[in-house]
Amino acid sequence: MTVIVEREGSDHRAGGAPETALRRRTRRFRRWETTPEKLRVVQVVLVSTCLLTGVVAAAALQARANATREIEDRTEPLAADAVDVYRALANADATVATEGSEYRRDIEEAARDLARAATLTARDSLTADRISDIAAQLPTYTALAEGALAAERKPDERASSLSAASSLMQSTILRRAETFYRIESESLDAQYRRAAALPVVALLAGAAGVLALLGAQLMIARRTRRMVNLGLGGATLAVLALAVWWTVAVSASGDHLADSRRRSQAVSDAFGPAQIAARQARASEILASVTADPSLYEPDFSARMQRLARSNGAGGALGAAGYLVSDQAGRKTVTEIVDQARAWRDAHDQIFELQKAGRREEAAAIDGSAAAFTAIDDALAGAVTHERAAFRTDVNQAQEALAGLVPGTVAGMVAAAAAAAWGIGQRLKEYR
């Protein structure tokens, strides 16, 4: 069945000298002897290219999957923790002045978040440093705050303890918490870049594999009458099928990953900063209401409100939130919060005017500020919960889209290697 017909080249040169027997034998020798040798080389090249491609592609995929899991298990929770720590601490500072011992709840919450963050952090990193710094300062802060509470009947002592506590919080603890938050938010970005990076090496290896397979087929077709080699054809199909699977799975996973990134960004870069800005603005408002000169706190208040919702929510953290939320419900929430922020500002201006005019009791009777703040704070907390739940769904879908692809890639490329080896082996047999 296997009749080999050598394809004669066009070496009947017009006017060429007649071939000597020796030259003809040499020519035939070269052609007949080298083809199987070449085939063997091709066989080795194809098998190793396919196996190497399989390994490289599987490794790239595994790296991607690991980065995605890392985001879910570590980076996103840390970034969210960092926001929580900051918020709880900023809150404690405002609470201790107004609601006394209630502040302990905030400190406990911050300590809990810090402890959790510590378990997620590599030792000896900048973050670990910041976390232990913050944790180490909390007892000092608590001691000052408790001192203030114990001195309820001694206004001077109380005021000086409160002010010492507040200054420790504002100029040391919160700054460290901010660095912690900034580092985590950056590392979340970096981790997403890693997870979504184009697997260049795997792509090149895959392309090289297909090229090698097609090149081998071309060579065999040129040298023999066999236009189709089942083994090589099968191997090519296997690689192409894998490529299609890859394309579909990686792009689907990439879409989910991009969605999850938007969600986590909405929390760490928009709703989180909005919560912080709102609480800080509220804190400066509260401080203004108990000091002799409320105008001292006005620049802080207005800077923080700008950070919350510059130009009626066109900018600031709420502007960012409106831009980052991807669903109808989210957008509606943001619009409502922007409205509340406007109401807050109006109420605040009214109160501030009264305070400046020395009509403090009338000012204290207006509760628009407090009500608007509470509504904003609650709505923001709801938005964070919603976005974080959606984040987890998205990131899980991103992982599911890649399910089976690592073993699939390995199996597919091993199969391709085997098919290619078999295909060339069939040709080789014909030379024995």
Partner: protein
């Protein structure tokens, strides 16, 4: 890809495969050309105010470029840190609201590295030709131009010329200040920036540089932060604080607070930026006509050191009309009328030729000080490095804890790590 190209089936498959995979992996789309009719210029409230330089330059542009998009000035909070936070929040989210961003000279690296800016390489030559070197350098990052120099500045010494002649060294300044305050019954020998914020870091660095220190080596790869110079700087601050050379309340004082105290006639000396000069000469100023200015003092046998300040104008990556925004920042940076206007508002221009012609004391002083003004280290991590310096230096100079040697060691190890973890 041409469909009718005589492609060998297999090769087509390869090309397709690569194209498909590449396309699948690239998720970000590019924005098409846009046509904004208004450019929003974000800048701090003091500069954005009715008599501030931003409004004046925007008016100049709007009147002289009727066919180009108008520039609207958007006032951000006064505090530089609040400005940075606000812009960072919006840019992080990719929000297109702000087109032209006023960046403090130390923010270039951070903003460029975060991908928030459009580079200005295509107008680089025109800007470089006319700008002073230090401000121009401050607008570059990794060899590319990311912003157009707008205003410059350097720390200078203000003094009451009716009371003192300023000595040349810091050590003498302390004695002269204490003595003059005592003699004239003035509260404060010296006001400056002592609160725990960027301003204190600048004051500290000026002492540190003046003592011969450098934070990083020239290409920013090795930590220098010479312990000797740093300890010297902290000890100087500590003793100025203890001896009452620093004003009461120095430890919560910002530029604005220092200015108010000096303007009220409560201080002999002040370290501040050039913009204060004009405000001290206003009618409401109690020291009008009695204010002298000079370069900052030195430490015996060492070179003078003033921190470089000022703002550069960058174009947001999310600007709707990048072309017009670039035209505007180039205008603000290289138009002679615009830059001379700045001089009239006691801001230091960045354009060299704006210093030519009849000059008042301030312009003369700046022409001498600016060429040697020291930039803070260009690094995208400046915010956290500055924070660490604040955390260490502030308690060390106000309360002895940590000891200056430990504070310096802590800063050093932070700097080492921030280089490693970058």
């Amino acid at each position: 890809m041409k469909r009718d190209a005589p492609l060998w089936a297999g090769r087509r498959a390869v090309v397709l495969l690569v194209v498909v995979l590449v396309a699948a992996a690239c998720t970000s789309g590019s924005k098409g050309p846009s046509t904004g009719t208004e450019l929003v210029w974000a800048i701090g409230a003091i500069d954005a105010g009715r008599n501030g330089p931003a409004q004046a330059v925007a008016n100049l542009w709007n009147n002289s470029h009727p066919d180009r998009p108008r520039v609207r000035v958007e006032a951000l909070p006064d505090s530089a840190d609040e400005q940075r936070q606000l812009m960072a929040i919006e840019l992080n989210a990719g929000l297109p609201g702000l087109d032209i961003l006023s960046l403090d000279v130390v923010w270039t690296g951070e903003f460029a590295e975060s991908g928030w800016l459009v580079d200005l390489e295509d107008v680089r030559r025109e800007i470089e030709e006319v700008s002073l070197r230090a401000p121009f350098q401050s607008a570059t990052w990794k060899g590319r131009l990311w912003a157009a120099p707008f205003t410059s500045g350097a720390g200078i010494l203000y003094y009451r010329k009716d009371l003192v002649t300023p000595p040349k060294t810091w050590v003498d300044l302390v004695e002269v200040g204490l003595e003059a305050a005592d003699r004239a019954g003035i509260d404060h020998p010296f006001v400056g920036q002592g609160a725990q914020y960027e301003g204190m870091v600048v004051n500290f660095l000026e002492y540190f540089w003046a003592a011969g220190g450098e934070v990083f080596d020239e290409d920013g790869r090795e930590v220098r932060f010479e312990p000797e110079a740093a300890v010297w700087a902290i000890k100087f601050m500590r003793s100025a604080h203890e001896r009452g050379f620093y004003a009461d309340g120095f430890s919560s004082m910002t530029e604005q607070d220092a200015l108010e105290q000096f303007r009220e006639g409560n201080a002999v000396f002040m370290r501040n930026w050039p913009y204060a000069y004009d405000l001290l000469d206003e009618e409401e100023s109690k020291v009008r006509g009695r204010v002298g200015i000079a370069a900052l003092p030195v430490f015996e046998g060492k070179d003078p050191a003033s921190a470089l300040g000022g703002q550069n104008l960058a174009v947001s990556r999310y600007a709707e009309n990048v072309g017009a925004a670039k035209e505007f920042v180039k205008f603000a940076s290289t138009d002679k009328r615009a830059q001379v206007l700045l001089r009239e508002l006691s801001r230091a221009p960045t354009m060299a030729s704006a210093y030519l012609g009849p000059a008042d004391d301030l312009v003369m002083l700046l022409a001498g000080v600016l060429p040697d003004a020291r930039p803070r280290p260009p690094t995208p991590n400046w915010a956290s490095i500055s924070d660490e310096i604040q955390q260490q230096v502030f308690p060390a100079y106000t309360g002895d804890q940590p000891a200056s040697k430990d504070a310096v060691e802590n800063i050093r190890s932070f700097l080492e790590r921030s280089l490693r973890e970058r």
